[in-house]
């Protein structure tokens, strides 16, 4: 059904929103409020309460357990305009007036008073959202590539499968008390998606006209990271659920429940050896298939169409619609709109439609921005929904070519018209010391500083840098996904004499996708020198590159010891960067002993992490 509404003087169609999927349950909000009161009255122990709280998506805030980070699950990253508006008003009422897009397609509200968490949950339920099992030892938000359904290279749209898996496992008794958290990621194609860094990763494929997936097990980022192993060449769609159930059951039975630091499934796989684990999964899957009741299996309900009728796909990867104003060379001095189109818009497989990326800074967006964005989606996207991305931006799909400028102008009116969403400038940063107990450094602010500086320098318009990424975590635990970045950083501290300075360990050569690699640690860099260090790397690359080599390719060559200029290998690179990365004494450079956002001397304060509670 289409309605019309006025915008300015012209009439516009309003696309119906994607239907509300009702992930939330009202009774859970009341139970949460009751348990907060029982905890405050000391009728519920701290440990029991913590477990309960995390199961319901409320994470303790940095050194202040009276406040929570409320993690809103957004299954497959798909979120409709009413949900965005509700998050806007909840963030104003109970949080800090901004919401935060995470690297796993969650949306987080920070610094919510513990006593108000149930109120946030109440509001979320009204629009079908939930925080259930967003933290704790459960199946976390099930991710799906934000290109799924519009990607020219995908075999089919994985989104219905991703949602069905999420639906099957949420509140499922089999995953209420796992040894540790469990992550499932769906891709659309070989290139897009994080299938190798999840407990279970799935890429859709078609074989002999049958739908199925390539499934990877035992990957994941953290203090010790692993790339997932390929289970088999092809898993037909009817075996997707039994395969996932088998992996979770094995993890539940054999996972390490003693050592919290080493109890993700990837450690189990590593310790047991892949071949053995693989055999066990295949065997367990047969048992699951033989013993699962039909009524249970039916709960895995893949609905192929749960939204408005969308235009059919008409394009193959060879005949994509050209971007409307696509010049080969965009210059930072040229039209702002063209620069934005070039760095934030991609054609879809549906002829005439585009996916637009909204550039956020480290995933932060204000309540007002959310509201205007919701309105723009309603009026300009045929899909009636947004997807959030692991790059901490929003992807708005099904925008017609003739509406791109209007969409851009609406973004500009609320300060969201920055270019670079699909380029090196869109740096990822976890929440760091802005709210996390484990963080050592202010990675969040650093990501924002990197983005601002690099847009100012016009790096987004530079084709050579486009396929490179920068990702920053505030500690080794990888929420900022630093190990899959071209240039990644994780926070730490370095001591010289009695003085402590915030520093980052820099990694090179990580990548996502099915051929994904983990980056390798190169050297430490003072926090305040990270930007200069990246600039120095880019300057050297510009001098040395040849044959249209991109920065990403150049770095990978050096990682393999195959550089052809003055910088041949990692050792050469370290020597080159020593000047800029050296940490002088506090007397010589006192500024290097302060982190971003702090006027006072740096101290490395952390508290107990709650990931493992």
């Amino acid at each position: 059904m289409k309605h019309t509404a006025t915008h300015g003087s012209e009439y516009r169609n309003i696309s119906p929103s994607k239907p509300n999927q009702r992930w939330g349950r009202e009774e859970e909000t009341e139970i949460f409020a009751q348990n907060v009161r029982r905890f405050r009255q000391a009728k519920l122990s701290e440990d029991d309460f913590r477990r309960f709280r995390l199961q319901h998506g409320a994470y303790g805030s940095r050194l202040q357990l009276n406040y929570s980070m409320v993690r809103i699950k957004v299954p497959s990253g798909e979120i409709n305009p009413e949900q965005l508006e509700k998050i806007a008003s909840l963030s104003e009422s109970f949080s800090i007036g901004s919401a935060h897009v995470s690297t796993r397609q969650n949306i987080q509200l920070h610094w919510v008073q513990l006593e108000d968490v149930s109120e946030v949950m109440r509001g979320l339920v009204e629009v079908g959202l939930t925080t259930r099992e967003a933290c704790g030892n459960t199946v976390r938000n099930v991710m799906c590539s934000h290109y799924a359904g519009v990607c020219p290279n995908e075999a089919f749209d994985a989104t219905p499968y991703s949602k069905a898996i999420a639906r099957f496992f949420i509140r499922n008794p089999m995953c209420q008390n796992l040894p540790r958290k469990f992550k499932i990621n769906f891709a659309c194609c070989e290139d897009h998606g994080l299938v190798r860094i999840a407990d279970i990763g799935l890429t859709p494929v078609i074989k002999d006209e049958r739908r199925g997936f390539r499934i990877y097990l035992g990957g994941g980022l953290g203090a010790a990271s692993f790339i997932g192993h390929s289970l088999e060449d092809f898993t037909p769609e009817e075996r997707v659920l039994p395969t996932c159930m088998a992996a979770i059951r094995l993890f539940d039975r054999h996972g390490n429940r003693e050592n919290m630091a080493r109890n993700r499934m990837r450690y189990l796989v590593h310790e047991m050896g892949w071949e053995k684990f693989q055999k066990m999964v295949l065997k367990e899957r047969s048992i699951v298939e033989m013993t699962t009741a039909v009524s249970t299996a039916k709960l895995f309900d893949v609905k192929d169409n749960d939204g408005p009728n969308l235009p059919a796909e008409t394009m193959s990867s060879h005949s994509l619609t050209k971007l409307p104003v696509l010049n080969d060379h965009i210059t930072p001095e040229g039209s702002k709109y063209e620069r934005w189109v070039h760095t934030n818009v991609v054609p879809q497989k549906q002829a005439g439609y585009f996916t637009v990326f909204v550039t956020l800074e480290a995933g932060d967006i204000t309540a007002n921005q959310l509201r205007i964005l919701a309105g723009a989606i309603r009026e300009l996207s045929t899909e009636g929904a947004a997807r959030n991305t692991p790059q901490q931006n929003f992807a708005i799909r099904y925008i017609k070519g003739e509406d791109l400028r209007e969409f851009y102008e609406r973004l500009m009116s609320i300060g969201l018209g920055s270019p670079g969403a699909l380029t090196i400038t869109s740096a990822v940063g976890c929440s760091g010391t802005t709210s996390c107990n484990l963080a050592i450094t202010n990675s969040h602010r650093l990501a924002k500083e990197v983005q601002r500086k690099f847009i100012e320098l016009g790096f987004d318009a530079d084709e050579d840098l486009r396929d490179s990424t920068i990702k920053i975590s505030g500690c080794p635990n990888s929420c900022g996904q630093h190990e899959i970045a071209t240039i990644g950083f994780f926070g730490g501290a370095s001591r010289i004499g009695n003085a402590m300075a915030p520093t980052y360990t820099m990694l090179f050569g990580g990548s996502a996708g099915e051929q994904g690699n983990l980056g390798k640690a190169i050297m430490r860099v003072p926090a305040r020198r990270v930007i200069d260090t990246i600039k120095e790397i880019i300057k050297t690359y510009k001098n040395e590159k040849h044959d249209g080599q991109t920065l990403n390719q150049w770095i990978n060559r050096i990682m393999n010891g195959e550089g052809t200029g003055d910088i041949r290998n990692i050792e050469d690179m370290k020597r080159l960067l020593l000047g800029v990365t050296q940490l002088p004494s506090i007397e010589n450079e006192p500024e290097l002993y302060k982190d971003y956002g702090n006027d006072v001397k740096f101290t490395a304060k952390t508290a107990r992490g709650e990931c493992a509670a």
Partner: protein
């Protein structure tokens, strides 16, 4: 989005009409709904006070309203406030309804001031001027004046707290200090022992205050007893905390006071503060 509190406007209207009939000085509720106000305006039985800037008033205001900008009220002492009431033709018992266009915070501060000098029959309009206008309700442009009246001065210390009173709340579990500022300001620094109920929690959907049962739930969730004494404060002159004052009154809390000089005075006097410096929470804001 919901419209203006539609809860049971019809019944309330009936009630309002029947109470007003023949009664010159209708006793106002804490928050005055649109229907009551329109009835009172029709019967010329109330004074409507617009506390926005004078230029805004001149461009259109609620019928019969007089202009009395917040700044003018803040510049006066108690006698001066009584002079104001007299100058806008308010007699001792006349219903006074105050509105603004700043989510009720400026109106709350002025209403509280009128009540402080003794004009108890004062109420806040349930919506802002923008909301009134957007709902298609009557607007007029003329500048209204009324014959001067006389009004008594009867200071109500029960609703006022000064700095030494606030200092005495320390350690007294029956006295609850409420900080109405936004979360990040509160985290940065606040009066020791204060509880944070940001003003942003209090209104919704164009209503300056939520429904009482919601506000009541917020208080109960915090484990606070409505039998306690509450003292509200905010950052500078008691506007945000003025709104909090009325929110607490609305849910039936008997003993509420406003620390009108608020945190600005507290800081300038060098009183102790609680600060939280272990996190860079300001960097999370996308503002």
């Amino acid at each position: 989005m919901n419209n203006i509190h539609t809860s049971n406007a019809a019944t309330e209207k009936k009630a309002a009409d029947s109470t007003i009939v023949g009664a010159e000085n209708y006793e106002l509720p804490i928050v005055c709904d649109i229907d009551i106000l329109r009835t009172l305006i029709r019967k010329k039985a109330a004074r409507v006070v617009d506390v926005r800037k004078e230029e805004e008033y001149k461009q259109g205001h609620i019928p019969t309203a007089v202009s009395m900008p917040l700044a003018q009220v803040l510049s006066k002492d108690s006698e001066g406030i009584v002079d104001i009431l007299e100058s806008i033709g308010v007699s001792d018992k006349l219903p006074v309804i105050v509105y603004d266009d700043t989510f009720g915070a400026l109106a709350a501060r002025v209403a509280w001031t009128f009540q402080y000098v003794g004009h108890t029959n004062t109420s806040l309009l349930e919506v802002t001027f923008s909301r009134w206008k957007d709902s298609g309700l009557e607007i007029e442009n003329q500048i209204n004046t009324y014959p001067k009246t006389t009004h008594y001065l009867n200071i109500n210390q029960e609703i006022h707290a000064d700095v030494s009173y606030v200092e005495n709340t320390r350690g007294n579990t029956n006295m609850i200090l409420v900080d109405s500022r936004e979360r990040l300001n509160f985290l940065t620094e606040h009066i020791p022992g204060a509880k944070n109920i940001p003003y942003t929690m209090l209104g919704s959907n164009g209503n300056i205050l939520r429904k009482p049962d919601e506000i009541k739930r917020f208080i109960e969730n915090r484990g606070l007893s409505s039998e306690s004494e509450f003292i509200t404060y905010c950052g500078s002159v008691g506007t945000l905390s003025g709104l909090a004052y009325y929110a607490l009154k609305l849910v039936g809390i008997k003993n509420v006071k406003l620390y009108a000089k608020s945190f600005r005075e507290w800081k300038s006097l060098g009183k102790p503060k609680e600060e939280f410096t272990d996190a860079n929470y300001w960097d999370l804001s996308a503002e």
